[in-house]
Symmetry: C2
Subunit: 347 residues, 2 copies
């Protein structure tokens, strides 16, 4: 029964129709699970689909429907832990819904460059998830033309999420509040902060959370020092702070920053946690294995990504299941890098 001699190229809806002895519209109905098809007809079509290895063309579908089953993630970075984890969450959820996922990187925060990247992403025809943790991302979110389905992943919602442009976020305010309180409760006089770029915005939730904790404790409010995203920036910031003997507790915008700070303190001869306590954000995979292991606040980036997709999916398809998409609350993970202050408290 070796009759697999198709003409050429993948089988189309018409090939299937011919094989099943029906019109191609009927094939369309079957593959779209349209109710009004006689069971016998359906069976014949399905058999032909199977036999020819038919796969419906996503491109043709997109052209005919005017919208493609694609979500493209716009982000300034794909390698740092938080960004990468959000991307992963989106991909997981998209895959489960049989969506394709694209990624566009915002190489620069330059207005024209960002606009170009947004256009390119829009050309793909699906929905957008914009990671707006940094200037480039924030700008991209603003540049998305009205009518294009988009959900933003933001640090702090700038205003109540509009129905047509929803946002997802983690409770960074609470996260910073808890971490600061933890450090304060250990007996530190105040808590310094090494900021990631997103914290630059006046409305930063983390800055606000830390401020609140500091205020409640009547502690001094030293200004945040900029650290960037990676270990190198943390190292530079750490060197600065290490020179000030009054500094005994440092909270960092992410674990990579904290790693750099740890190194700077080591070089400056200031033991952690003996003299200085350090905490980060994210709970990246390696943080538990550093020496000293890092106290941090675990943030559910993957859940955030999944939630973003769920929202987009709902906007894109009426019939999309309104799946619950819980984003776990930030969780303080206390490890070796934080302890009571004191010149020689080490045990």
């Amino acid at each position: 029964m070796e009759v697999t001699g198709h003409t050429r190229g993948p089988a189309s809806i018409r090939d299937v129709a011919a094989a099943a002895g029906v019109s191609y519209q009927t094939v369309s109905r079957v593959i779209n699970a349209h109710p009004s098809v006689r069971p016998a007809t359906r069976a014949r079509v399905l058999a032909a689909v199977e036999e020819l290895g038919f796969r419906r063309s996503a491109t043709a579908l997109a052209l005919a429907r005017g919208r493609s089953r694609t979500v493209t993630v716009l982000t300034a970075d794909t390698t740092h832990y938080g960004y990468a984890s959000i991307l992963r969450g989106v991909e997981e959820a998209a895959r489960a819904a049989a969506y394709s996922v694209g990624v566009g990187v915002l190489e620069s925060a330059d207005e024209a460059a960002v606009a170009a990247e947004v256009r390119r992403a829009a050309d793909v025809g699906g929905g957008l998830v914009v990671i707006a943790y940094d200037p480039a991302g924030v700008r991209a979110l603003e540049a998305v033309p009205a009518g294009l389905p988009v959900v933003g992943v933001v640090e702090t919602p700038a205003s109540p999420p509009a129905d047509d442009r929803p946002w997802v976020w983690t409770d960074d305010r609470e996260a910073a509040y808890r971490a600061t309180r933890h450090l304060l409760s250990l007996g530190h006089e105040t808590v310094h902060y090494v900021a990631i770029p997103s914290d630059t915005r006046p409305a930063s939730a983390r800055i606000a959370g830390r401020r609140q904790a500091l205020t409640e404790a009547d502690a001094p409010q030293p200004p945040p020092v900029q650290g960037g995203w990676g270990p190198a920036g943390g190292y530079a910031a750490g060197l600065k702070l290490a020179g000030d003997p009054s500094v005994t507790a440092i909270l960092c915008g992410n674990d990579d920053l904290a790693l750099g700070v740890l190194r700077a303190l080591h070089e400056a001869g200031r033991p952690v946690p003996g003299e200085v306590s350090v905490a980060g954000f994210d709970d990246a995979p390696h943080s538990a294995y550093l020496t000293p292991s890092l106290t941090t606040v675990r943030l559910d980036f993957t859940g955030l990504g999944r939630a973003a997709f769920a929202l987009l999916h709902g906007a894109l398809e009426e019939s999309a299941p309104i799946t619950p998409h819980p984003v776990s609350a930030p969780e303080l993970v206390v490890r070796e890098s934080s302890g009571r202050p004191g010149p020689t408290d080490g045990g």
Copy 2:
């Protein structure tokens, strides 16, 4: 002159034609830079394109041409440094060539699951880059149907790269050779190895490189210990090795593994590099900031990703510029974690 009252939706080729007073075929010629168009006509069309904000539909283009300007990266992971960097390299090159990039994650190495993921990626209609560093990726590369443009990113080429299915790789054999030699040259009797999953394959280039260095030095050849991809696996492997006092040098399949090993040695009370030397692969951003900072072999993953795209681009388009795509050779980076052996050599 506020005449921006288009009917609805984005402008199509016909809208532009109407505005310019030509047929839509002429518009097609202009946007495709076809030579035979009168300059004056071209100018009129271009003006209309500008005025209407026309963007050619990628979907329609793909349907008409039978191929889309997309590259989708198939990978078992998007978060680990090596994988993420390759993805970034592909994205950079693809963006420069005005290609879209998609990503498909191989959640399981299960044959059926991998095949389904490959089909999904194929449905998108462009080319594929498959990261085949692990069983899932290797299987995916095999499952790609003939005729679909694909380039594999592999640890070791299994055979001379076929013309229709090229491969890119870093010289892992050389990298492992150099790292092992470095450790040996410090005076260690032999070098243990904590492997990443890709090293499981009998043809592993790294295993071969290390073996060669060991053989040349007439050193014992302890079998590799499996570590997985992350710090947790490195930690477990490190605990095992730490218990053996004869172990004084450990090479790890990647920097995350090395980080876990470092932690295990610390807990076991074996100072690095005083008693044991450790080296990794990759030179991840944080490796220079660990304490001790990590000796490692820098691998050009981003260049690898760019090279993979260049190859694919060439296969997809006759006219694609044959851009040189150099992948830097592995580079040994000596830091604090490696030193001369000896119970108490610490300075």
